[in-house]
């Protein structure tokens, strides 16, 4: 079936099987490997995309159901090759180790801060509870989010 997806600001019309998840279509049809399969059950967050600005598990969304919604993956954050300030914060604060959870963390953090600009560390911790990381222990991810929240607040 033909489905109109809207990915990172661009319309992408694709042929999908009914049983293909958005995760599978993004990766296998569109070659967008920003999203990863970590668990297949919506627990780990490695497959996070923003759907109309809100985080969802792309492994639990049929591609057919995602038609005409705005889908954002991590590559939608870059601005003509310049890193988004949150991405820069992740680099500066050493918030990236193996990197597998990183795209999901970035999108989830950004979506949360969009709606809660003054959020403190405790609120940020709660915001990323649904994104599992096995490498960092979360501390430097929170350092990066906190730093970005402070800077974004100033601007």
């Amino acid at each position: 079936m033909r489905v109109s997806l809207h990915v990172n600001g661009r319309p992408r019309d694709v042929d999908v099987e009914p049983n293909q998840t958005l995760l599978a279509v993004l990766r296998d049809t569109l070659g967008i490997f920003d999203v990863k399969e970590g668990c297949g059950e919506g627990v780990c967050g490695a497959c996070t995309v923003l759907l109309d600005g809100r985080p969802v598990s792309s492994c639990l969304l049929l591609a057919a159901s995602a038609a005409h919604r705005a889908i954002t993956t991590v590559r939608g954050l870059e601005d003509e090759g310049d890193l988004h300030p949150l991405q820069q914060a992740f680099l500066r604060h050493g918030a990236v180790q193996c990197g597998f959870c990183t795209p999901g963390m970035l999108l989830t953090g950004l979506a949360f801060l969009q709606n809660h600009p003054g959020a403190d560390r405790a609120a940020l911790r709660h915001a990323i509870e649904g994104n599992l990381c096995r490498c960092t222990g979360y501390a430097k991810i929170l350092d990066a989010l906190e730093a970005y929240a402070r800077e974004a607040k100033r601007d």
Binding site: E37, Q97, F100, C133, R134
Partner: protein
């Protein structure tokens, strides 16, 4: 191995929290992990596995599966040229008895654990492969199984393997233990149990294989060991130079990707079909099939004087190897050597056994046997403290190893032991005690020290190699076989090379983990890579520098000793300088190589008979101390860690931010082990095969870990570094258990410290 000159002056890159070269790609999701790879005509492969833990295969019928739509091939044991895999402490060649373990690629007639692989299917789509997998008909005769290592060692227990269920038995005897117990003022005893856990990396096992235009079977895979190309070659019966393993940047390893995972299957299928083949495990498959951490049953008897000084310790360990040996004997060896902890031990006896069962196999995992025993020896230290009315800190200070002391196996510690400083720093980092937030909540504190070996056992004659070379324009290339598991393994090498050769970090390109194109560096395991490959790159860089400065000396007509490489040039002490590009052109003219292959050989030793002998086992150890403050809800048993301070002597922090990250991440993994992670088995059947039932900590479950980095400068790695990959995972469980006792008086001796277990220890729930 330290660079004497450098230590005297400020280093430009080493010791700085530089941004890792791989981090940028990761924040824009440009890193191509092993599963992020597609090739034209690529097939998709799945594994067919046994649902039974103990069975005989009467017949396998793959005909129906092979005929299904899209199926390219079905492989069973009879289709595998050499169906045996040896676990031989990868990369090494010295035969070491029970350390060489045998495994089938695909089951032949006997099933020894749930999930044992039986057949492989490759098809045009993953969906078709899975449908075909469900059509493979296996006629099983279900057999009795044994699911407890103690039961497995009883006479009459079902034999998991023909040679009996005892896989390995290590013994240490030192001093006169009986005399020690006789003269002791107090003896404390404890029995402790730890659980099976899973590596639970976010990236499941994955890879793609193809046969390249030279007929080389190429396997691009998430692995900690690229030397597995030899295993693949052996299984296929092809020369080793016809197999190439390209190790990708891993989405986590933690020891779970140390044994072969998908490499052999991919090699087999690509070789048979002559098409590219991809295999990516689902999370459930990974949780089901991957080797786990050994659960331990430990019995400790500790005898001490009134002063707190330990005079003797008697330790029994029993581990569960599951259906196959894998690295179990080696893991047990690590436990045996470290079982008494980082303490002086005039007399000690250790009896460590590992038995086969029909449980899932156990093998390497971060900490590798030196982790489980921390729960034993550190719980004992607190018991001792309480029995004597001493503080937990004092009893550890009294007994802490010092340089020149020996471990029970007789190894003399030759480097500085920073334990007193680590104890003091971690404890004071807890700050003011947190007042209980409600009447039903109690707050307590506990500490735990540990020692973790880094570098391989010395009689394995470990080595690593690295190639460093300049391009004509002055940009630098580093080639090393090191797999990068996410801990900055590759980026540290760049820092070291750039430091020595005086170039900016951005001027370095690093190529890693390609068995055909990068010099072999050995496994990313055993906290060995910074030590081994860091030293290899250091050596290669220094030797290259020597070569180049000799050439520069000729060009500048100066003494080489008066020259140094800095700021992308050669600088003479008299102020003259030679731009790097000119030097390199000069080298080309003079026939001086602009590159160098360095090989670092770890100081080697000969095998030690643990029971009779005495000697060096590991090159060195990393010491640590964690302090935890916890809150216990005395009505529900729920434990919350409020603070965790983790102090380690890392020798030298090549990249302090990376070191902190390792400590924080390891300690959180340790808190998962302490509080919530458990593979639950029911007669060998794994009932925790999803992330909804196998729980790893989220950000809401753990506090920020305060990483305290002590740099004694006495490690054997580059610039005095010690290994830090594994040490931080081990202390939290004991620190938390000790804190629970401090808060409530209840000692919990089994992991994980779930609310129910704590509730039982508090007497809130009765019976079984």
């Amino acid at each position: 191995m330290t660079d004497g000159v450098k230590l005297e002056r400020e280093m430009r890159l080493v010791g700085r929290p530089v941004i890792r070269h791989d981090a940028r790609d990761k924040v824009v999701a440009a890193t191509a992990y092993a599963g992020d790879w597609a090739m034209p005509g690529m097939l998709h492969a799945v594994v067919v596995r046994s649902p039974y833990p103990s069975a005989r295969i009467r017949a396998i019928d793959t005909k129906r599966a092979a005929a299904m739509p899209g199926v390219a091939t079905v492989v069973a044991a009879s289709d595998v040229p050499h169906n045996t895999l040896w676990t031989d402490v990868p990369g090494q060649t010295t035969e070491v008895g029970p350390l060489r373990a045998r495994l089938h690629v695909l089951a032949e007639d006997r099933i020894r654990h749930q999930g044992e692989p039986i057949a492989l299917i490759a098809a045009e789509t993953e969906q078709q492969a899975r449908e075909a997998a469900e059509a493979v008909a296996v006629d099983y005769e279900v057999l009795a199984g044994v699911f407890d290592p103690a039961a497995a060692l009883e006479p009459g227990a079902p034999a998991v393997h023909d040679q009996g269920n005892l896989l390995a038995h290590w013994r240490v005897r030192r001093g006169d233990v009986a005399a020690g117990f006789a003269r002791a003022d107090v003896v404390v005893e404890g029995e402790y149990r730890t659980q099976h856990v899973d590596s639970a990396y976010l990236e499941p096992e994955s890879g793609v294989a193809w046969v390249d235009s030279d007929g080389v079977i190429t396997i691009r895979v998430s692995t900690q060991v690229i030397e597995h190309f030899r295993d693949v070659a052996e299984v296929l019966g092809v020369p080793q130079n016809r197999v190439r393993v390209i190790g990708t940047y891993l989405g986590g390893g933690f020891g779970g990707k140390e044994d072969v995972t998908v490499e052999v299957y991919l090699g087999l299928l690509a070789w048979r079909t002559k098409r590219p083949v991809r295999m990516v495990w689902t999370r459930q498959e990974s949780l089901l099939a991957r080797a786990k951490r050994h659960p331990y049953r430990m019995r400790y008897r500790t005898a001490a004087l009134r002063t707190g000084e330990i005079v003797a310790q008697e330790i029994e360990l029993l581990a569960d190897s599951g259906g196959y040996a894998y690295l179990s004997a080696l893991v047990l060896l690590y436990s045996t050597v470290t079982a008494a902890g980082p303490y002086r031990m005039p007399a000690a006896s250790v009896d460590a056994k590992v038995a086969y069962t029909n449980n899932p196999p156990t093998s390497a995992m971060r900490g590798f046997g030196a982790m489980q025993v921390v729960f034993g020896y550190e719980s004992q230290m607190d018991r001792l403290a309480r029995a004597l009315g001493l503080s937990p800190l004092a009893v550890r200070r009294v007994n802490a190893l010092r340089r020149g002391d020996a471990l029970p196996v007789g190894q003399v510690i030759e480097t500085h032991v920073a334990l007193p400083e680590l104890i003091e720093r971690s404890w004071s980092a807890l700050g003011e005690p947190t007042p209980p937030r409600a009447p039903h909540v109690k707050v307590g504190r506990g500490i735990a020290c540990n020692l973790q070996p880094y570098g391989r056992i010395v009689w394995l004659h470990d080595w690593s190699s690295a190639w460093v070379g300049f391009e004509m324009d002055g940009s630098l290339v580093v080639r090393s076989g090191v797999p990068d598991v996410g801990g900055g393994q590759a980026s540290s090498l760049c820092q070291i090379a750039a430091e020595i050769l005086g170039v900016p970090l951005e001027g370095v390109s690093v190529h890693i983990a390609d068995s055909a194109l990068t010099p072999l560096a050995g496994t990313t395991t055993a906290s060995r890579q910074l030590y081994m490959s860091g030293n290899a790159v250091l050596k290669a860089s220094r030797e290259l520098r020597e070569q180049l400065l000799a050439a520069a000396a000729r060009i500048l007509d100066a003494g080489p000793a008066a020259l140094e490489m800095a700021d992308g040039a050669v600088r003479a002490s008299d102020g003259r300088s030679l731009p790097l590009v000119e030097l390199l052109r000069g080298c080309a003219r003079m026939g001086v190589p602009r590159s160098h292959l360095g090989v670092y050989h770890a100081p080697a030793g000969e095998p030690v008979d643990l029971e009779k002998g005495s000697g060096k086992i590991f090159p060195d150890y990393t010491f640590g101390c964690h302090a935890a403050e916890v809150e216990v809800d005395t009505q529900t048993g729920r434990v919350t860690v409020l603070k965790l301070a983790a102090a380690h002597d890392v020798g030298r922090a090549i990249n302090p931010q990376s070191v902190e990250g390792q400590i924080q991440g390891g300690a959180v993994q340790g808190m998962g082990y302490a509080l919530m992670e458990e593979v639950v088995l029911e007669d060998g059947i794994n009932v925790t095969t999803s992330f909804a039932s196998y729980l790893i900590p989220s950000a809401g479950d753990v506090p920020d870990v305060e990483a305290l980095v002590v740099e004694s400068g006495e490690g054997l790695g580059p610039f005095g570094a010690r290994g830090i990959g594994e040490p931080p995972i081990a202390p939290p469980a004991a620190a938390v258990a000790n804190a629970i006792e401090d808060a409530t008086g209840a000692r919990v001796t089994q992991l994980p410290l779930t609310p129910e277990r704590v509730a039982r220890a508090l007497g809130l729930v009765e019976g079984d």
